[in-house]
Symmetry: C2
Subunit: 138 residues, 2 copies
C-alpha cells in the first residue's frame, strides 16, 4: 500500500489527508475507468463499513480544487472522474458503450487552441466505433 505516499501528496497540495480522501484518491488512481461518484460509493462501501455519499462528493470536490483529479464530461447523465491528470483523449464507442483513453501529443492539442486564448486544460472527446465493434458494423 502506497497510502503513505498518497497522504504526503495530499498534504503537499494543502489537503488534509483523511482516510476517506485517501481512499477516494487511491480508488481513482487504481481504477482508470472514469468512475462516477456512485460507482466510487458502491466500491468503497464494501471496503469500508461507513462511507456516506456526502463524503464522496466532498472528497471529490476537494481533490478537484487541488487539481489532483479531473472531472471529465463523458456522460450527460452523471459526472465522471479521472485520476489521470495528464492531457489525454477519450473515445466512447456508440456500439458497446465502452470508454477508451488514448494519449495525445500536448503540442498537437494546444495547436488547436485559437490564438489569443490561454488554454489551461484541453479535453478531446470522440464518439464512434471502437476497433472491436467497427468490423461488425462494417
Amino acid at each position: 500500500m502506497a497510502n503513505q505516499n498518497l497522504a504526503a501528496v495530499l498534504s503537499a497540495h494543502g489537503v488534509r489527508p483523511t482516510q476517506q480522501r485517501i481512499a477516494v484518491f487511491d480508488y481513482l488512481l487504481t481504477h482508470p475507468t472514469h468512475p462516477s461518484a456512485d460507482t466510487i460509493y458502491n466500491a468503497l462501501s464494501k471496503q469500508y463499513p461507513v462511507f456516506s455519499r456526502t463524503t464522496i462528493y466532498n472528497s471529490l470536490n476537494t481533490l478537484l480544487e487541488a487539481k489532483l483529479i479531473r472531472a471529465v464530461n463523458i456522460s450527460p447523465d452523471e459526472q465522471r472522474f479521472d485520476g489521470n491528470i495528464r492531457d489525454h483523449g477519450h473515445f466512447r464507442c456508440v456500439s458497446c458503450g465502452e470508454i477508451f483513453d488514448f494519449d495525445i501529443d500536448p503540442a498537437a492539442l494546444h495547436a488547436l487552441c485559437p490564438s489569443g486564448f490561454q488554454g489551461e486544460q484541453g479535453d478531446i472527446f470522440f464518439t464512434g466505433l471502437c476497433p472491436h465493434c467497427a468490423p461488425l458494423r462494417h
Copy 2:
C-alpha cells in the same frame, strides 16, 4: 421567417414538423449560445402561450436522434445544446465564464483520433483565459 424551410428539413430527416419542434429548432439555429433546456424553455414560454418543459425535452431528444442538433458537454450541471452540427471547438473562460466557439480544421481534429477507431464525431473543449480576461490576470 424561414419556418417553411425548417419544416422541410425536419420532414427530410423523418421528424414530424410540429410547431413546437420548429420553434425549438429555430431557437437553436438563431441563438448560437449553447442554451440549456431551461433557457430555451424560458425564451419560448414568452413567445408562445403554452409550452411545457416536457415538450422541450421531447423535441430536443427527437432533434438529437435525427442529428439535427448536437449536445455539448460544456457544463457539468446541465446539458447544453447546439444548432451548429459542424465540427467545432469550445472554449470556456474560467474568469468570465463565457463560452466561445472556434472553428477547427476537421482534418487536424481527426488526425488526433487514434488509429483503429472510427470517429464519427469529435469534440474539443478548452478551459482557460479568454483574450479579454488574460491581460487582467497578470
